[in-house]
Symmetry: C2
DNA sequence: CTATTGAATTATGAATTCATTTTTAATGTC
DNA sequence: GACATTAAAAATGAATTCATAATTCAATAG
């Protein structure tokens, strides 16, 4: 856990082929976001700038910029002259976030049904078919990957930049929870069924139905996650 | 338009009774957000840090922090080593933002119908009644104020922090457009009718209906705004 | 022994300074 | 005259330094 960035330092080994590395502030916000979502920085914990600067080996300037971003995303809370604390992201938080995601995906479905190109629909149907194969092969990582690709494709097909952006920001907050969710076989198969109906509604360009299906799909995912948490208590 | 912050400077006139003034970065992000939404910084325009620092009389450090926040909100776009440009917020952008807001308010309505306390419902009904009086008195500013109070109250009654937060961020982006929208008398009266139905659905705790009404209400508002823009072209 | 005050320490806010990248302009060559 | 190369200028990225507010802790009064 004592990783260091070591950017701009004395690393003469990596030739650095002009691949523009992102600014420190971006790297830091990405890393901090990851840490918060992973639980490395528990909710309610006070963040001391100095600690993080020595931990990452950077100065306070880019770190503070990164913290502003995380605050705008709601992951931390900045209190003037008094530092920052990590926002609490508990089970209740999942119950807050998923309905919002479900609502946004409903809109995405309604829009995509109207605006999606035939090629986009084709692609989503193909992805849905591939999804079935992963269930047969019990390939969870692949399932997760394709599942996300489908949702992203529907969002993209909505053609609404604000919607895409908002969804991406909020979805990032539950990324981890979504991944370690689809445990049971029964839920897995049911999710596959739901995806089949989703693809079908899209093919028929039935916006109302597609929206409703996506909404229910996300809420069902929330249920399964809550069940898994309650049953296993598989906290890292 | 050449306002200056002049905070922490040599203003011996204002004794400053310990009322904690917000950090410069916050003041700057608020001010820049306002400027962008007001059109003082047109979409597509390149932002030079130096220009703004001399304009506001601050150093680059807090300004850059403010810009990170605006970038997280989607109001500007940061390009590494190449500065920032103001995101384009055109008519199409309104057409993007309002459906998202409508979708979020639909969810708010569905949740509020279940979770709102009787006192909250009471208050919203009272506000709705007051709204009618403003129409009779042709008091536009008051109408706008109460209207927003109603929407905020429904959001608050949803009890979903993520929803409240997300809505607030996005709503801020069209604040101005909403204000200069309700021009025509006919639209005004129709909006009042809609609010009556909204209050009614809430009183009956009919979530599906309340959600649908709020969704339609926002989409109707978008239509009226687009009509007004197309007709009058009343750009400041 | 407890509570309060005040100095010392520590943390955050903001300006300045240094480093790197990009852009601009100029010069030279073809 | 057009294009490429390169030096100068300007802008952004990041570290350091200075200023101010908050916290800690010891000393003293009650």
């Amino acid at each position: 856990m004592s990783q260091t960035l070591d950017v701009g330092g004395e690393n003469g080994s990596q030739p650095d082929f002009g691949l523009a590395r992102p600014p420190l502030a971006v790297q830091l916000s990405d890393m901090l976001r990851e840490m918060i979502l992973e639980g490395a920085l528990p909710g309610g914990e006070k963040i001391r700038e100095k600690d993080l600067t020595v931990r990452f080996g950077v100065s306070r300037t880019p770190l503070r910029e990164a913290m502003k971003v995380l605050a705008a995303e709601g992951l931390i809370e900045l209190i003037p002259n008094r530092g920052a604390i990590v926002s609490r992201h508990s089970v209740e938080d999942l119950a807050d976030v998923f309905p919002v995601l479900a609502s946004l995906e409903r809109l995405a479905g309604e829009l995509a049904a109207v605006r999606a190109t035939d090629a986009e629909i084709e692609r989503i149907c193909t992805l849905t078919a591939n999804l079935g194969q992963t269930v047969e092969g019990a390939n969870r990582p692949q399932y997760f990957k394709i599942n996300q690709a489908i949702h992203d494709a529907i969002l993209a097909a909505s053609g609404n930049e604000t919607l895409i952006r908002t969804h991406a920001t909020i979805a990032g907050r539950v990324h981890r929870a979504r991944y370690q969710a689809n445990l049971t076989k029964s839920r897995w198969e049911r999710a596959l069924e739901e995806h089949g109906r989703i693809a079908d509604a899209l093919k028929k360009r039935d916006g109302a139905r597609l929206g409703a299906l996506l909404n229910e799909h996300m809420l069902a995912k929330l249920s399964s996650i809550l069940d898994a948490l309650q049953a296993g208590e598989t906290g890292t």
